[in-house]
Protein backbone atom coordinates (compact mmCIF):
# COMPACT_ATOMS: atom_id res chain seq x y z
CA UNK A 1 0.00 0.00 0.00
CA UNK A 2 2.85 2.32 0.91
CA UNK A 3 4.56 1.82 -2.44
CA UNK A 4 1.35 2.13 -4.50
CA UNK A 5 0.27 5.22 -2.58
CA UNK A 6 3.66 6.87 -3.01
CA UNK A 7 3.58 6.18 -6.76
CA UNK A 8 0.08 7.66 -7.09
CA UNK A 9 1.15 10.69 -5.05
CA UNK A 10 4.26 11.14 -7.23
CA UNK A 11 2.08 11.06 -10.34
CA UNK A 12 0.08 13.96 -8.89
CA UNK A 13 3.16 15.95 -7.93
CA UNK A 14 4.83 15.44 -11.33
CA UNK A 15 1.58 16.40 -13.08
CA UNK A 16 1.22 19.50 -10.97
CA UNK A 17 4.78 20.66 -11.63
CA UNK A 18 4.82 19.79 -15.33
CA UNK A 19 1.65 21.86 -15.85
CA UNK A 20 3.12 24.84 -14.01
CA UNK A 21 1.67 27.38 -16.46
CA UNK A 22 -1.81 26.39 -15.30
CA UNK A 23 -1.10 25.39 -11.72
CA UNK A 24 1.33 28.16 -10.62
CA UNK A 25 3.15 25.84 -8.17
CA UNK A 26 4.39 28.58 -5.82
CA UNK A 27 0.98 30.24 -5.37
CA UNK A 28 -0.52 26.76 -5.27
CA UNK A 29 1.89 25.76 -2.50
CA UNK A 30 0.82 28.74 -0.43
CA UNK A 31 -2.87 27.83 -0.74
CA UNK A 32 -2.15 24.13 -0.18
CA UNK A 33 -0.14 24.72 2.99
CA UNK A 34 -2.27 27.67 4.04
CA UNK A 35 -5.46 25.61 4.19
CA UNK A 36 -3.91 23.07 6.55
CA UNK A 37 -2.33 25.77 8.73
CA UNK A 38 -5.55 27.76 8.83
CA UNK A 39 -7.37 24.68 10.06
CA UNK A 40 -4.76 23.54 12.57
CA UNK A 41 -3.78 26.91 14.01
CA UNK A 42 -6.96 29.00 13.70
CA UNK A 43 -10.16 27.03 13.12
CA UNK A 44 -9.42 24.08 15.41
CA UNK A 45 -8.24 26.21 18.39
CA UNK A 46 -11.39 28.35 18.08
CA UNK A 47 -13.57 25.22 18.05
CA UNK A 48 -11.76 23.76 21.07
CA UNK A 49 -12.00 27.06 22.93
CA UNK A 50 -15.76 27.38 22.30
CA UNK A 51 -16.23 23.70 23.16
CA UNK A 52 -14.49 24.17 26.48
CA UNK A 53 -16.61 27.23 27.31
CA UNK A 54 -19.81 25.30 26.60
CA UNK A 55 -18.64 22.42 28.74
CA UNK A 56 -17.76 24.72 31.65
CA UNK A 57 -20.83 26.95 31.49
CA UNK A 58 -23.62 24.47 30.83
CA UNK A 59 -24.75 21.12 32.14
CA UNK A 60 -27.17 18.34 31.29
CA UNK A 61 -29.63 18.63 28.45
CA UNK A 62 -28.92 22.30 27.80
CA UNK A 63 -25.26 21.48 27.27
CA UNK A 64 -26.10 18.62 24.90
CA UNK A 65 -28.49 20.81 22.90
CA UNK A 66 -26.00 23.66 22.61
CA UNK A 67 -23.12 21.33 21.72
CA UNK A 68 -25.11 19.71 18.91
CA UNK A 69 -26.53 22.98 17.62
CA UNK A 70 -23.14 24.70 17.67
CA UNK A 71 -21.47 21.88 15.72
CA UNK A 72 -24.19 22.04 13.04
CA UNK A 73 -24.23 25.83 12.97
CA UNK A 74 -20.45 25.91 12.49
CA UNK A 75 -20.60 23.50 9.56
CA UNK A 76 -23.54 25.30 7.94
CA UNK A 77 -21.80 28.67 8.37
CA UNK A 78 -18.63 27.35 6.79
CA UNK A 79 -20.33 25.97 3.67
CA UNK A 80 -22.50 29.11 3.37
CA UNK A 81 -19.57 31.55 3.26
CA UNK A 82 -19.06 31.42 -0.54
CA UNK A 83 -22.75 32.04 -1.29
CA UNK A 84 -23.13 34.65 1.46
CA UNK A 85 -20.05 36.50 0.22
CA UNK A 86 -21.72 36.76 -3.20
CA UNK A 87 -18.24 36.75 -4.73
CA UNK A 88 -19.38 34.59 -7.64
CA UNK A 89 -22.11 36.99 -8.79
CA UNK A 90 -21.82 37.92 -12.44
CA UNK A 91 -23.37 41.13 -13.80
CA UNK A 92 -24.10 39.46 -17.15
CA UNK A 93 -25.32 36.13 -15.77
CA UNK A 94 -28.12 36.47 -13.19
CA UNK A 95 -28.70 32.68 -13.09
CA UNK A 96 -25.59 32.34 -10.88
CA UNK A 97 -26.45 32.56 -7.15
CA UNK A 98 -30.11 33.49 -7.78
CA UNK A 99 -31.38 33.08 -4.21
CA UNK A 100 -31.41 35.10 -1.03
CA UNK A 101 -28.74 33.07 0.74
CA UNK A 102 -28.90 35.00 4.02
CA UNK A 103 -32.56 33.95 4.37
CA UNK A 104 -31.65 30.36 3.55
CA UNK A 105 -28.81 30.37 6.04
CA UNK A 106 -30.98 31.81 8.83
CA UNK A 107 -33.76 29.30 8.13
CA UNK A 108 -31.29 26.40 8.28
CA UNK A 109 -29.73 27.64 11.51
CA UNK A 110 -33.16 28.26 13.06
CA UNK A 111 -34.35 24.76 12.16
CA UNK A 112 -31.09 23.32 13.51
CA UNK A 113 -31.49 24.97 16.91
CA UNK A 114 -35.15 23.96 17.14
CA UNK A 115 -34.38 20.36 16.24
CA UNK A 116 -31.41 20.12 18.63
CA UNK A 117 -33.43 21.54 21.54
CA UNK A 118 -36.22 19.03 20.93
CA UNK A 119 -33.75 16.15 20.44
CA UNK A 120 -31.92 16.98 23.68
CA UNK A 121 -35.23 17.18 25.57
CA UNK A 122 -36.24 13.74 24.31
CA UNK A 123 -33.02 11.77 24.93
CA UNK A 124 -32.86 9.40 27.84
CA UNK A 125 -29.63 9.10 29.81
CA UNK A 126 -28.96 6.54 32.47
Amino acid sequence: MGVIGTLVMSFGIVGLISHSRQTHPIAWGIWFTGGALLHDLVLAPVVFFVGKRIKNLLTGRTRLAVQMAMILTGVIALVSIPALSRAGLSPTNPSILPRNYLNGFLILVGLTWGTCLIAAALVRDK
Partner: protein
Amino acid sequence: MVRRFNQTRRKSLTPSDHLRVGPFEEGSFKSALHSARTASILGIALGICFGIAFVTGVLSHLIQNPTSWFHWPSRPAGLFRITQGLHVSTGMMSIPLLLAKLWTVYPKLWKWPIFDDLTHLVERMSLFPLVAGSIFLLFTGLLNINYWYPWPFLFVPAHYWVAWITIGALIVHIGAKAATVRKALSSDTVLIDEVKDGLTRRRFLTLVGAASGVVMLSFAGSTVRFLRKVSVLAPRDPAVGPQGFPVNRSSAQARVAQFALDPNYRLEVEGKMKQVISLSLSNLKAMPQYGAELPIACVEGWSAMVRWRGVRLSDILKLVDAAPGASVRVESMERRGDYRTSILNSTHAMHPDTLLALEANGETLHLEHGFPVRLITPTNPGVMQTKWVGRLVVL
Protein backbone atom coordinates in the same frame (compact mmCIF):
# COMPACT_ATOMS: atom_id res chain seq x y z
CA MET B 1 -5.58 2.20 22.14
CA VAL B 2 -7.71 5.05 23.26
CA ARG B 3 -5.12 7.70 23.77
CA ARG B 4 -1.88 7.19 22.05
CA PHE B 5 -0.63 10.58 23.09
CA ASN B 6 -0.45 9.37 26.65
CA GLN B 7 2.13 6.73 25.87
CA THR B 8 5.38 6.57 27.76
CA ARG B 9 8.17 8.66 26.35
CA ARG B 10 11.45 7.44 24.98
CA LYS B 11 14.20 9.01 26.99
CA SER B 12 16.76 9.29 24.20
CA LEU B 13 14.58 11.54 22.01
CA THR B 14 12.80 13.59 24.61
CA PRO B 15 13.64 17.28 24.55
CA SER B 16 13.63 18.97 27.89
CA ASP B 17 10.20 19.03 29.45
CA HIS B 18 10.01 22.77 29.96
CA LEU B 19 9.31 23.04 26.21
CA ARG B 20 6.14 21.06 26.75
CA VAL B 21 3.75 23.98 27.03
CA GLY B 22 0.33 24.98 25.69
CA PRO B 23 -1.43 22.23 23.76
CA PHE B 24 1.59 19.96 24.25
CA GLU B 25 0.78 19.71 27.97
CA GLU B 26 -0.61 16.44 29.21
CA GLY B 27 -4.36 16.46 29.55
CA SER B 28 -4.92 19.36 27.17
CA PHE B 29 -7.60 17.40 25.38
CA LYS B 30 -9.94 15.70 27.79
CA SER B 31 -12.87 14.50 25.70
CA ALA B 32 -13.07 10.73 25.34
CA LEU B 33 -14.51 11.29 21.87
CA HIS B 34 -10.91 11.59 20.66
CA SER B 35 -10.81 7.81 20.38
CA ALA B 36 -9.53 5.37 17.79
CA ARG B 37 -13.04 4.01 17.33
CA THR B 38 -14.52 7.43 16.49
CA ALA B 39 -11.61 8.14 14.16
CA SER B 40 -11.97 4.75 12.46
CA ILE B 41 -15.69 5.09 11.76
CA LEU B 42 -15.30 8.64 10.43
CA GLY B 43 -12.26 7.52 8.43
CA ILE B 44 -14.20 4.75 6.70
CA ALA B 45 -17.10 7.07 5.81
CA LEU B 46 -14.65 9.66 4.53
CA GLY B 47 -12.74 7.01 2.55
CA ILE B 48 -15.95 5.93 0.79
CA CYS B 49 -16.88 9.53 -0.09
CA PHE B 50 -13.36 10.33 -1.32
CA GLY B 51 -13.31 7.12 -3.36
CA ILE B 52 -16.58 7.98 -5.14
CA ALA B 53 -15.51 11.59 -5.67
CA PHE B 54 -12.15 10.47 -7.08
CA VAL B 55 -13.59 7.94 -9.53
CA THR B 56 -16.31 10.29 -10.79
CA GLY B 57 -13.79 13.12 -11.00
CA VAL B 58 -11.31 11.12 -13.09
CA LEU B 59 -14.24 10.04 -15.27
CA SER B 60 -15.15 13.67 -15.93
CA HIS B 61 -11.49 14.36 -16.75
CA LEU B 62 -11.38 11.47 -19.24
CA ILE B 63 -14.58 12.63 -20.95
CA GLN B 64 -13.13 16.09 -21.45
CA ASN B 65 -9.63 14.88 -22.40
CA PRO B 66 -10.31 11.88 -24.66
CA THR B 67 -7.72 9.10 -24.81
CA SER B 68 -7.62 6.10 -27.14
CA TRP B 69 -8.46 3.51 -24.47
CA PHE B 70 -11.42 5.31 -22.92
CA HIS B 71 -14.82 5.26 -24.54
CA TRP B 72 -17.61 7.29 -22.92
CA PRO B 73 -21.00 5.76 -23.79
CA SER B 74 -23.68 7.94 -25.39
CA ARG B 75 -26.51 6.51 -23.27
CA PRO B 76 -28.32 6.69 -20.91
CA ALA B 77 -28.60 10.41 -21.65
CA GLY B 78 -28.48 11.41 -17.98
CA LEU B 79 -25.25 9.55 -17.21
CA PHE B 80 -23.07 12.60 -16.66
CA ARG B 81 -25.60 14.39 -14.48
CA ILE B 82 -25.53 11.30 -12.23
CA THR B 83 -21.74 10.88 -12.08
CA GLN B 84 -21.12 14.59 -11.61
CA GLY B 85 -24.00 14.92 -9.14
CA LEU B 86 -22.32 12.14 -7.14
CA HIS B 87 -18.98 13.89 -7.41
CA VAL B 88 -20.25 17.15 -5.96
CA SER B 89 -22.56 15.47 -3.40
CA THR B 90 -19.88 13.18 -1.97
CA GLY B 91 -17.52 16.15 -1.85
CA MET B 92 -20.06 18.22 0.06
CA MET B 93 -20.81 15.32 2.43
CA SER B 94 -17.09 15.04 3.10
CA ILE B 95 -16.89 18.54 4.57
CA PRO B 96 -18.54 17.70 7.94
CA LEU B 97 -16.89 14.27 7.93
CA LEU B 98 -13.42 15.74 7.42
CA LEU B 99 -13.93 18.41 10.07
CA ALA B 100 -15.11 15.77 12.56
CA LYS B 101 -12.25 13.45 11.67
CA LEU B 102 -9.65 16.19 12.10
CA TRP B 103 -11.26 17.22 15.40
CA THR B 104 -11.08 13.62 16.62
CA VAL B 105 -7.38 13.17 15.87
CA TYR B 106 -6.38 16.77 16.61
CA PRO B 107 -4.74 15.91 20.00
CA LYS B 108 -2.24 13.78 18.08
CA LEU B 109 -0.97 16.91 16.36
CA TRP B 110 0.28 18.05 19.78
CA LYS B 111 1.77 14.73 20.75
CA TRP B 112 4.75 14.86 23.09
CA PRO B 113 7.46 14.05 22.23
CA ILE B 114 6.83 15.25 18.72
CA PHE B 115 8.08 11.97 17.33
CA ASP B 116 9.26 8.68 18.81
CA ASP B 117 11.60 7.45 16.11
CA LEU B 118 12.33 7.82 12.41
CA THR B 119 9.44 5.58 11.29
CA HIS B 120 7.05 7.60 13.39
CA LEU B 121 8.45 10.85 11.97
CA VAL B 122 7.96 9.60 8.39
CA GLU B 123 4.42 8.46 9.25
CA ARG B 124 3.61 11.88 10.71
CA MET B 125 5.05 13.73 7.73
CA SER B 126 3.04 11.58 5.31
CA LEU B 127 -0.09 12.98 6.94
CA PHE B 128 0.67 16.45 5.62
CA PRO B 129 -0.23 15.77 1.96
CA LEU B 130 -3.32 13.87 3.14
CA VAL B 131 -4.65 16.61 5.41
CA ALA B 132 -3.58 19.56 3.25
CA GLY B 133 -4.80 17.79 0.09
CA SER B 134 -8.20 16.94 1.59
CA ILE B 135 -8.74 20.49 2.80
CA PHE B 136 -7.57 21.89 -0.55
CA LEU B 137 -9.91 19.66 -2.58
CA LEU B 138 -13.01 20.36 -0.51
CA PHE B 139 -12.27 24.08 -0.19
CA THR B 140 -11.55 24.68 -3.89
CA GLY B 141 -14.48 22.46 -4.88
CA LEU B 142 -16.89 24.37 -2.64
CA LEU B 143 -15.72 27.70 -4.03
CA ASN B 144 -15.87 26.43 -7.60
CA ILE B 145 -19.54 25.45 -7.39
CA ASN B 146 -20.12 28.99 -6.09
CA TYR B 147 -18.14 30.48 -9.01
CA TRP B 148 -15.58 32.10 -6.71
CA TYR B 149 -11.94 31.97 -7.81
CA PRO B 150 -9.72 34.01 -5.44
CA TRP B 151 -6.50 32.14 -6.42
CA PRO B 152 -4.09 32.65 -9.33
CA PHE B 153 -3.98 29.01 -10.52
CA LEU B 154 -6.58 27.38 -12.76
CA PHE B 155 -9.15 25.47 -10.73
CA VAL B 156 -9.50 22.39 -12.94
CA PRO B 157 -5.82 21.30 -13.25
CA ALA B 158 -5.03 22.22 -9.64
CA HIS B 159 -8.05 20.29 -8.31
CA TYR B 160 -7.26 17.36 -10.60
CA TRP B 161 -3.56 16.95 -9.72
CA VAL B 162 -4.18 17.46 -6.00
CA ALA B 163 -6.78 14.68 -6.21
CA TRP B 164 -4.00 12.26 -7.27
CA ILE B 165 -1.73 13.50 -4.47
CA THR B 166 -4.51 13.14 -1.90
CA ILE B 167 -5.65 9.71 -3.05
CA GLY B 168 -2.01 8.52 -3.04
CA ALA B 169 -1.59 9.80 0.51
CA LEU B 170 -4.90 8.16 1.44
CA ILE B 171 -3.70 4.79 0.13
CA VAL B 172 -0.54 5.10 2.24
CA HIS B 173 -2.67 6.10 5.23
CA ILE B 174 -5.06 3.16 4.82
CA GLY B 175 -2.08 0.80 4.61
CA ALA B 176 -0.55 2.29 7.76
CA LYS B 177 -3.79 2.33 9.76
CA ALA B 178 -5.61 -0.83 8.66
CA ALA B 179 -4.52 -2.78 11.74
CA THR B 180 -5.43 0.08 14.10
CA VAL B 181 -8.89 0.36 12.52
CA ARG B 182 -9.48 -3.37 12.74
CA LYS B 183 -8.53 -3.37 16.40
CA ALA B 184 -10.56 -0.24 17.19
CA LEU B 185 -13.70 -1.65 15.63
CA SER B 186 -13.34 -5.17 17.01
CA SER B 187 -15.98 -6.05 19.58
CA ASP B 188 -13.20 -7.46 21.80
CA THR B 189 -11.72 -4.01 22.31
CA VAL B 190 -12.83 -2.72 25.66
CA LEU B 191 -13.55 0.96 25.51
CA ILE B 192 -12.29 2.75 28.54
CA ASP B 193 -13.22 6.37 29.18
CA GLU B 194 -16.49 5.97 27.23
CA VAL B 195 -18.83 8.93 27.59
CA LYS B 196 -21.97 7.68 29.36
CA ASP B 197 -24.28 10.67 28.99
CA GLY B 198 -24.56 13.94 27.09
CA LEU B 199 -22.68 13.90 23.78
CA THR B 200 -21.83 10.20 23.59
CA ARG B 201 -19.82 8.71 20.74
CA ARG B 202 -22.99 7.43 19.09
CA ARG B 203 -24.72 10.78 19.34
CA PHE B 204 -21.62 12.55 18.06
CA LEU B 205 -21.38 10.25 15.05
CA THR B 206 -25.13 10.52 14.37
CA LEU B 207 -24.79 14.28 14.52
CA VAL B 208 -21.89 14.26 12.04
CA GLY B 209 -23.93 12.02 9.74
CA ALA B 210 -26.85 14.43 10.04
CA ALA B 211 -24.54 17.35 9.26
CA SER B 212 -23.39 15.56 6.10
CA GLY B 213 -26.99 14.99 5.11
CA VAL B 214 -28.00 18.60 5.79
CA VAL B 215 -25.07 19.96 3.78
CA MET B 216 -25.74 17.59 0.90
CA LEU B 217 -29.49 18.35 0.80
CA SER B 218 -28.97 22.09 1.04
CA PHE B 219 -26.93 21.95 -2.19
CA ALA B 220 -28.35 18.99 -4.14
CA GLY B 221 -31.29 21.00 -5.51
CA SER B 222 -28.94 22.37 -8.15
CA THR B 223 -29.35 19.06 -9.94
CA VAL B 224 -32.22 17.18 -8.23
CA ARG B 225 -35.22 19.19 -9.36
CA PHE B 226 -37.69 18.24 -6.61
CA LEU B 227 -35.18 19.44 -4.01
CA ARG B 228 -34.85 22.91 -5.51
CA LYS B 229 -37.07 24.49 -2.84
CA VAL B 230 -35.32 22.61 -0.03
CA SER B 231 -31.79 23.39 -1.15
CA VAL B 232 -31.55 26.89 0.27
CA LEU B 233 -27.78 27.09 -0.31
CA ALA B 234 -27.74 25.75 -3.89
CA PRO B 235 -25.75 28.13 -6.10
CA ARG B 236 -28.08 27.26 -8.99
CA ASP B 237 -31.78 26.72 -9.42
CA PRO B 238 -32.42 24.37 -12.37
CA ALA B 239 -35.54 26.39 -13.22
CA VAL B 240 -33.93 29.85 -13.11
CA GLY B 241 -32.41 31.34 -16.24
CA PRO B 242 -33.48 32.43 -19.72
CA GLN B 243 -36.07 29.98 -21.12
CA GLY B 244 -36.23 28.27 -17.73
CA PHE B 245 -32.72 26.89 -17.24
CA PRO B 246 -29.35 28.26 -16.04
CA VAL B 247 -26.44 29.65 -18.04
CA ASN B 248 -22.76 29.09 -17.29
CA ARG B 249 -21.02 31.42 -19.74
CA SER B 250 -22.88 34.52 -20.82
CA SER B 251 -22.70 36.04 -24.31
CA ALA B 252 -21.05 39.10 -22.78
CA GLN B 253 -18.30 36.99 -21.17
CA ALA B 254 -17.77 35.19 -24.48
CA ARG B 255 -17.92 38.53 -26.41
CA VAL B 256 -19.88 36.78 -29.08
CA ALA B 257 -23.06 38.85 -29.58
CA GLN B 258 -21.89 40.66 -32.73
CA PHE B 259 -21.17 37.35 -34.51
CA ALA B 260 -24.17 35.48 -33.14
CA LEU B 261 -26.67 38.22 -34.06
CA ASP B 262 -25.17 38.85 -37.51
CA PRO B 263 -28.02 38.40 -40.08
CA ASN B 264 -25.46 37.00 -42.53
CA TYR B 265 -24.60 34.15 -40.12
CA ARG B 266 -23.38 30.99 -41.82
CA LEU B 267 -22.42 27.62 -40.41
CA GLU B 268 -19.25 26.43 -42.12
CA VAL B 269 -18.63 22.74 -42.53
CA GLU B 270 -15.12 21.72 -43.54
CA GLY B 271 -12.38 19.16 -42.97
CA LYS B 272 -11.94 15.66 -44.35
CA MET B 273 -14.80 15.42 -46.86
CA LYS B 274 -15.62 15.63 -50.51
CA GLN B 275 -17.38 18.94 -50.45
CA VAL B 276 -17.03 22.04 -48.24
CA ILE B 277 -20.30 23.79 -47.51
CA SER B 278 -21.69 26.69 -45.58
CA LEU B 279 -25.29 26.86 -44.36
CA SER B 280 -27.36 29.90 -43.50
CA LEU B 281 -29.85 29.88 -40.66
CA SER B 282 -32.71 29.47 -43.15
CA ASN B 283 -30.87 26.52 -44.77
CA LEU B 284 -30.70 24.90 -41.34
CA LYS B 285 -34.37 25.63 -40.65
CA ALA B 286 -35.28 24.04 -44.01
CA MET B 287 -33.66 20.74 -43.00
CA PRO B 288 -35.70 18.08 -41.13
CA GLN B 289 -36.15 19.18 -37.51
CA TYR B 290 -36.00 16.72 -34.62
CA GLY B 291 -36.81 17.06 -30.94
CA ALA B 292 -34.85 15.61 -28.04
CA GLU B 293 -35.28 15.90 -24.31
CA LEU B 294 -31.76 16.00 -22.91
CA PRO B 295 -30.23 17.37 -19.73
CA ILE B 296 -27.67 20.11 -19.74
CA ALA B 297 -25.35 18.96 -16.96
CA CYS B 298 -22.45 21.07 -15.79
CA VAL B 299 -19.23 20.13 -14.05
CA GLU B 300 -20.21 22.48 -11.21
CA GLY B 301 -22.88 19.96 -10.31
CA TRP B 302 -26.04 21.61 -11.61
CA SER B 303 -28.24 20.15 -14.30
CA ALA B 304 -31.58 20.87 -15.96
CA MET B 305 -33.80 18.94 -18.35
CA VAL B 306 -34.53 20.84 -21.57
CA ARG B 307 -36.66 20.14 -24.63
CA TRP B 308 -34.41 20.85 -27.62
CA ARG B 309 -35.29 21.02 -31.30
CA GLY B 310 -33.02 21.34 -34.29
CA VAL B 311 -31.03 19.60 -37.01
CA ARG B 312 -29.40 16.22 -36.48
CA LEU B 313 -25.62 16.45 -36.65
CA SER B 314 -25.66 13.11 -38.47
CA ASP B 315 -27.83 14.65 -41.23
CA ILE B 316 -25.18 17.30 -41.83
CA LEU B 317 -22.44 14.67 -41.90
CA LYS B 318 -24.47 12.76 -44.51
CA LEU B 319 -24.95 15.98 -46.49
CA VAL B 320 -21.18 16.43 -46.84
CA ASP B 321 -20.47 12.71 -47.36
CA ALA B 322 -18.25 12.47 -44.28
CA ALA B 323 -16.47 9.15 -43.91
CA PRO B 324 -18.23 6.72 -41.56
CA GLY B 325 -16.63 6.73 -38.12
CA ALA B 326 -15.41 10.30 -38.46
CA SER B 327 -15.19 12.42 -35.35
CA VAL B 328 -16.18 16.08 -35.41
CA ARG B 329 -14.75 19.22 -33.89
CA VAL B 330 -17.45 21.73 -33.06
CA GLU B 331 -16.20 25.32 -32.86
CA SER B 332 -17.84 28.29 -31.23
CA MET B 333 -17.84 31.78 -32.74
CA GLU B 334 -16.29 33.10 -29.54
CA ARG B 335 -12.67 34.07 -30.17
CA ARG B 336 -11.17 33.08 -26.83
CA GLY B 337 -12.04 30.69 -24.07
CA ASP B 338 -10.75 27.36 -22.79
CA TYR B 339 -13.90 25.60 -23.93
CA ARG B 340 -14.56 27.25 -27.29
CA THR B 341 -14.35 23.91 -29.12
CA SER B 342 -15.37 20.36 -28.35
CA ILE B 343 -14.57 17.10 -30.08
CA LEU B 344 -17.26 14.48 -30.55
CA ASN B 345 -16.34 10.86 -31.18
CA SER B 346 -18.31 9.14 -33.94
CA THR B 347 -20.72 7.47 -31.50
CA HIS B 348 -21.76 10.82 -30.11
CA ALA B 349 -21.66 12.55 -33.51
CA MET B 350 -23.93 9.95 -35.12
CA HIS B 351 -26.34 9.63 -32.18
CA PRO B 352 -29.89 10.51 -33.36
CA ASP B 353 -30.34 12.81 -30.33
CA THR B 354 -27.18 14.79 -31.05
CA LEU B 355 -28.59 18.02 -32.42
CA LEU B 356 -27.51 21.40 -33.63
CA ALA B 357 -30.29 22.95 -31.61
CA LEU B 358 -32.21 25.98 -32.88
CA GLU B 359 -34.91 25.88 -30.19
CA ALA B 360 -35.08 25.30 -26.44
CA ASN B 361 -38.29 24.62 -24.48
CA GLY B 362 -40.43 25.56 -27.48
CA GLU B 363 -38.83 28.94 -28.25
CA THR B 364 -36.09 30.15 -30.55
CA LEU B 365 -32.82 29.53 -28.73
CA HIS B 366 -31.94 32.46 -26.46
CA LEU B 367 -28.68 34.30 -27.14
CA GLU B 368 -27.43 33.26 -23.69
CA HIS B 369 -28.05 29.61 -24.55
CA GLY B 370 -26.12 29.82 -27.81
CA PHE B 371 -28.30 31.48 -30.49
CA PRO B 372 -28.34 30.88 -33.42
CA VAL B 373 -27.06 27.30 -33.09
CA ARG B 374 -25.80 25.24 -30.18
CA LEU B 375 -24.63 21.68 -29.88
CA ILE B 376 -26.54 19.32 -27.59
CA THR B 377 -25.55 15.70 -27.18
CA PRO B 378 -26.43 12.96 -24.70
CA THR B 379 -24.10 12.16 -21.75
CA ASN B 380 -21.55 14.92 -22.39
CA PRO B 381 -20.78 17.61 -19.78
CA GLY B 382 -22.08 21.13 -20.32
CA VAL B 383 -18.67 22.55 -21.22
CA MET B 384 -18.67 20.28 -24.29
CA GLN B 385 -22.15 21.40 -25.43
CA THR B 386 -20.66 24.19 -27.53
CA LYS B 387 -22.75 27.37 -27.86
CA TRP B 388 -22.82 29.88 -30.75
CA VAL B 389 -21.58 27.20 -33.17
CA GLY B 390 -19.84 28.74 -36.20
CA ARG B 391 -17.90 25.86 -37.69
CA LEU B 392 -17.88 22.08 -37.86
CA VAL B 393 -14.63 20.37 -38.75
CA VAL B 394 -14.82 16.73 -39.83
CA LEU B 395 -11.72 14.94 -38.52
